[in-house]
Amino acid sequence: MSWSMVAFSAFSTIAIISSIFVILKKNPVSSAFSLILVFFSFAGLYAVMGAHLVAALQIMVYTGAIMVLFVFVIMLLNADTPVLDLKESGGLFKAITTFGVIGLLGILLKTVLRAKEIQATGNLTEDKINELGGNFKVISEALFTDYSFHFELASFLLLGAIVATVALAKRKSLKGSSV
């Protein structure tokens, strides 16, 4: 087996097992740390596929920013009550849920099986990207030329998110406030 295959098997096993832990752990802090493990192994999978920029940003954005925010909020709310809080629900809801997830899995599996028939439309193979200066350079050039409008739109989205979060967090209480 090649080294990339070994790395792929290890990372995908870690990703699947710890994502099961995310939904089964009783303590939210344990869920958060399992989720960090999932993000790290996803970064490894991106690196195996040669998407180096995405792998670096995965670690920086997800484990560096988003998960710190999550752990901070868990600490702030002191919500680490160790109960496995599954929803109490009727048999009908459980049946619908099970059939829904199985049906979705079937549709996804059909997509995966048909994905083998996809023909390559572009010409950016692994060697071509290396010849053009590497994954980082090619993506950055596309981002600042073809996708510069979308890039600016993303900055507006982040600005809106900042304003909304500050407005939500500054408010005293939802009940009895005139806003």
Binding site: A15, F42, Y46, L69, L105, S173
Partner: protein, 104 residues
């Protein structure tokens, strides 16, 4: 000894499994923080499949889309956590079954 290389469809299988686990978490758990974490899990699975399809088509558009999805995910988790904090101030709980203020 034959060399077994990593094919993009293998990543699609991993993404499918992780997406289903995240969906089950959103449906089954009551803790709002864990539900938000499972939404992040589903977003990550979609990102992985974007990269896999990008490799199949031999373009880099999927990689660029992943960057924008990461931006949206960061904004979404910030606003979601702000909402959870506001809800905790009012109701003193992060249980999604306790949100029934419209009923009163």
């Amino acid at each position: 000894m034959t060399e077994v290389m990593v094919e993009p469809w293998m990543l699609l299988v991993v993404a499918m499994i992780v997406f289903a686990i995240g969906l089950l978490g959103v449906i089954l758990r009551k803790n709002l923080l864990v539900m938000l974490m499972c939404v992040e899990l589903m977003l990550n699975a979609v990102n992985l499949s974007f990269v896999a399809f990008s490799r199949m088509h031999q373009t880099l558009q999927g990689d660029i889309t992943v960057l924008f999805v990461m931006t949206v995910a960061a904004a979404e988790s910030a606003v979601g956590l702000g909402l959870i904090i506001a809800m905790f101030r009012t109701l003193k709980t992060v249980d999604s079954d306790q949100i029934q203020m419209l009923r009163d």
